[in-house]
């Protein structure tokens, strides 16, 4: 055995150990990352899953013409001013007779959501023949009642309700007059001060318009800039300067773009505050560097032989770019854009400064209507005093995460599908 071989033999075990340890570090890092993700998800899902359901209370309601003040249920005008609150109060008094004290009555009326009268109106509108009759109807419960019914038995004594109210709810529950249903209004309603009526509908529509504006501006501008810089621009100090600045912009904290938006778009151009158009413009500034950088990287992966081949066959520079480079680089560009858009979708900081942190009930009808976006809605709810908003906040986070996961998965799938290996 030569001396070298002996040396190698001796160190072999140590080197194997070293490699094992090195791999173990890597696995450990991934493990830590996954654990953090798991904790985050368990916490959010644990807190938020209950918000996807809400409780209804069944009451026997007599839609009395006199109490309602309606004689024709097909007349919308009359329905809008009808006293639905009155019939609900009457139904509650009948369900729990003997509540005469004014304070107690107030507590009793608080069991049903203030939005229940709108449910009732819609119900009557859909079926005018109900007028004058008595029906068992399911009404939306107040958020405190909902929360009480969702808390496990042994934690109930701590709830924020009077003893009398708890008794009433227990009675209703025992009689089978409470029901848990899927909370569809969570997806269709706008914001509300009443947690049981609040939803992410207007925030999703606001996010949608904002993203459309961002995509329509940042994708063409970003791709055009990338093509010019990569294919046409001469290599000189000026283009180096631009490159440094683009990389720099990608690292600038997003709140700076908000300040820029405030100074330029609002103060200089006089755009209205809180509209998706403005949000989209600001987020365009933010995502542009990301799109330019990824698009340039995508163009770089197109082998020079493709360009040279086309040039050799007599194509002009522009034909080379449009017919060969762009189609080949497009999957990479799309992936980059989707990742950039996902980033923009989750962004709150720049929007704080341009007035999108706003209470928006009505669902925006276009990019120039006041709107808010999903992450901002989360921020607003996280700051609301009502306990039910804790669950709503987590539920909204789950929806946002679902969107982000979808977009990122789409990016990966697109890359896998369309990518060409050389």
């Amino acid at each position: 055995m030569s001396e070298t071989t002996a040396k190698v033999r001796k160190s072999l075990a140590r080197r194997y150990r070293q490699e094992k340890r090195f791999q173990a570090y890597g696995i450990l890092s991934i493990g830590v990352g996954l654990l953090a993700l798991l904790i985050l998800f368990t916490d959010i899902i644990g807190k938020g899953h209950s918000a996807f359901f809400e409780h209804y209370i069944q009451l026997e309601i007599s839609l009395d013409r006199d109490v309602l003040g309606v004689d024709d249920a097909s007349d919308d005008e009359q329905l809008n001013y009808a006293n639905f609150g009155g019939v609900i109060k009457e139904a509650l008094r009948e369900r729990f007779p003997g509540v005469d004290d004014r304070q107690q009555q107030r507590q009793l009326y608080a069991l049903v959501s203030s939005g229940a009268s709108y449910n009732l109106r819609d119900e009557l509108k859909a079926d005018p023949s109900l007028l004058g009759g008595t029906r068992n109807l399911w009404l939306l419960a107040d958020d405190d009642v909902d929360l009480y019914l969702k808390t496990p038995e042994k934690k109930r004594p701590e709830a924020r309700l009077g003893d009398q109210q708890k008794q009433w709810i227990e009675d209703l529950e025992a009689a089978g007059d409470t029901e848990k249903r899927f909370n569809a209004s969570f997806f269709s309603h706008g914001d509300s001060r009443e947690p049981e009526l609040a939803g992410i509908g207007s925030a999703i529509v606001g996010s949608f318009f904002t993203m459309i504006v961002t995509l329509c501006l940042s994708f063409p501008i970003g791709v055009a800039a990338a093509i010019y810089l990569e294919e046409f621009a001469p290599r000189n100090k000026f283009t180096d300067f631009i490159e440094v600045n683009i990389n720099n912009l990608a690292a600038v904290p997003s709140i700076i773009f908000g300040l820029l938006g405030l100074a330029i778009f609002i103060n200089l151009f006089g755009l209205p505050r809180s509209v998706p158009l403005l949000g989209g413009l600001v987020l365009t500034l933010m995502t542009l560097p990301t799109i330019i950088i990824t698009s340039r990287a995508a163009i770089k992966t197109v082998p020079p032989s493709v360009r040279e081949g086309a040039l050799a066959l007599g194509a002009s520079k522009m034909q080379v770019v449009l017919h060969h480079v762009l189609p080949l680089a497009l999957p990479g560009m799309l992936t980059g854009s989707i990742i950039g858009m996902a980033q923009a979708l989750g962004e709150t900081a720049p929007l704080l400064l341009i007035g999108m942190v706003a209470f928006i009930v009505d669902i925006p009808g276009g990019p120039t209507d006041p709107a808010t976006v999903l992450p901002v809605q989360i921020y607003l709810w996280a700051d609301s005093p009502e306990q039910s908003f804790v669950a709503m906040t987590s539920a909204a986070i789950m929806v946002l995460l679902a969107f982000l996961i979808t977009m990122n998965t789409l990016a990966v799938v697109l890359r896998k599908r369309l990518e060409r290996r050389w």
Partner: protein, 352 residues
């Protein structure tokens, strides 16, 4: 090449300008409201009810009192807000700024009160604090415990060192950061309130106002006071996991989280709706909103919104704002305010 680059830039600028041009001309039919995050839950409740009765729902931004007044005073015109909420009164300097920018006629409306509570988890011991205790426990510099008129960096570590009647637990208070209006009010009413009880410190005010302010409005930074962010909900949640800590937040959060947290009595007074409204509870403040009169009639619905806010069913003792934790004004004051608000009485600037 350079020319091409320039063309791209010009093109981009033109695109932006084009996108912005039509938007400027849009007349607004929704009321725009900005201002305090403390008033936000109440204003949004009113806005929502107002919107349900067939009007476009007003848009409300939570910008903080100072930020709201700044936006409000920027000028007349639909790009500026119509109403701003504030958890403190407009300052004379802000009124001047408004005047300078052409916002001449402003109506001030006091809507109710908010109390600032000091609370701990229900699992902890209920405490009674005096303003002096609060100052001694949280002030940055406090009078030397050995006596004499000398200030030393706050030496207290436990509550019973501050006052032997208090429990022997570590001083740990979670509260809002300096950017918050709640913190301003807490500093002014609780810390300064306790600070003033030392006659020799109160005497400094006459000689050197800024020195007095720096003594009486500074909170210690050695970890006993933990800045827990603007989010009062977070403070409530943290108190649940740490029964020894106290938290500082608005009354509405106490109201919504009874069963989780209990309030400390201050000077023996329990923070309750009645005690805050009567002024017996020492750490309370008024809530306001300001209306730009020039916009009334231009932006539809402002009068209706004011009417809804100042109606008995909203801000009365049985109103829906009380359910949200606002403390109503006394009856006579409410009647006076409602009249003043609905007739849009302008401020003169002298009342500030």
């Amino acid at each position: 090449m350079k020319f091409q680059m320039k063309a791209t830039l010009v093109g981009a600028a033109a695109a932006v300008a084009l996108a912005s041009a039509p938007a400027t001309a849009i007349a607004r039919d929704t009321i725009s409201i900005v201002g305090s995050s403390t008033v936000y839950p109440f204003a949004t409740t009113v806005a929502e009810r107002f919107g349900r009765s067939g009007n476009p729902t007003p848009k409300i931004e939570s910008t903080g009192s100072g930020g709201g007044l700044k936006l409000f005073c920027q000028g007349i015109g639909t790009e500026n807000p119509d109403i701003t909420n504030a958890s403190r009164r407009m300052k004379a300097s802000e009124f001047e700024m408004c005047q300078k920018n052409g916002v001449k006629e402003i109506t001030e409306v006091v809507v109710g009160y908010d109390g600032i509570v000091i609370a701990n988890s229900v699992e902890g011991e209920k405490v009674d604090l005096s303003k002096r205790d609060i100052f001694l426990a949280l002030g940055k510099e406090v009078p030397d415990p050995k006596g004499g008129e000398k200030l030393v960096p706050n030496p207290y570590k436990t509550w019973n060192e501050v006052n032997s009647d208090l429990p022997n637990t570590k001083i740990e208070v979670l509260g809002p950061p300096p950017t918050s209006g709640t913190r301003d009010a807490f500093n002014e009413l609780a810390i300064e309130g306790g600070c003033k009880t030392f006659d020799w410190i109160a005497a400094i005010k006459k000689e050197d106002k800024s020195k007095y302010k720096s003594i009486c409005r500074s909170i210690r930074e050695d970890g006993a006071y933990v800045e827990a962010g603007e989010n009062d909900n977070l403070i409530v949640q943290k108190l649940g996991s740490n029964p020894q800590a106290l938290g500082v937040f608005g009354y509405s959060f106490l109201d919504q989280n009874r069963g989780k947290v209990q309030a400390a009595t201050i000077e023996g007074v329990e923070p309750q709706m009645e005690t805050i409204a009567s002024g017996d509870y020492p750490v309370s403040r008024s809530l306001f909103f300001y209306v730009k009169k020039a916009h009334v009639g231009v932006v539809p619905g402002i009068e209706g919104y004011i009417k809804e806010f100042t109606s008995e069913r909203a801000w009365g003792p049985d109103g829906y704002l009380v359910d949200k934790g606002m403390i109503p004004l006394p009856d006579d004051m409410r009647a006076k305010m409602a009249k003043q608000a609905q007739s849009l009485k302008s401020m003169t600037g002298k009342e500030l």
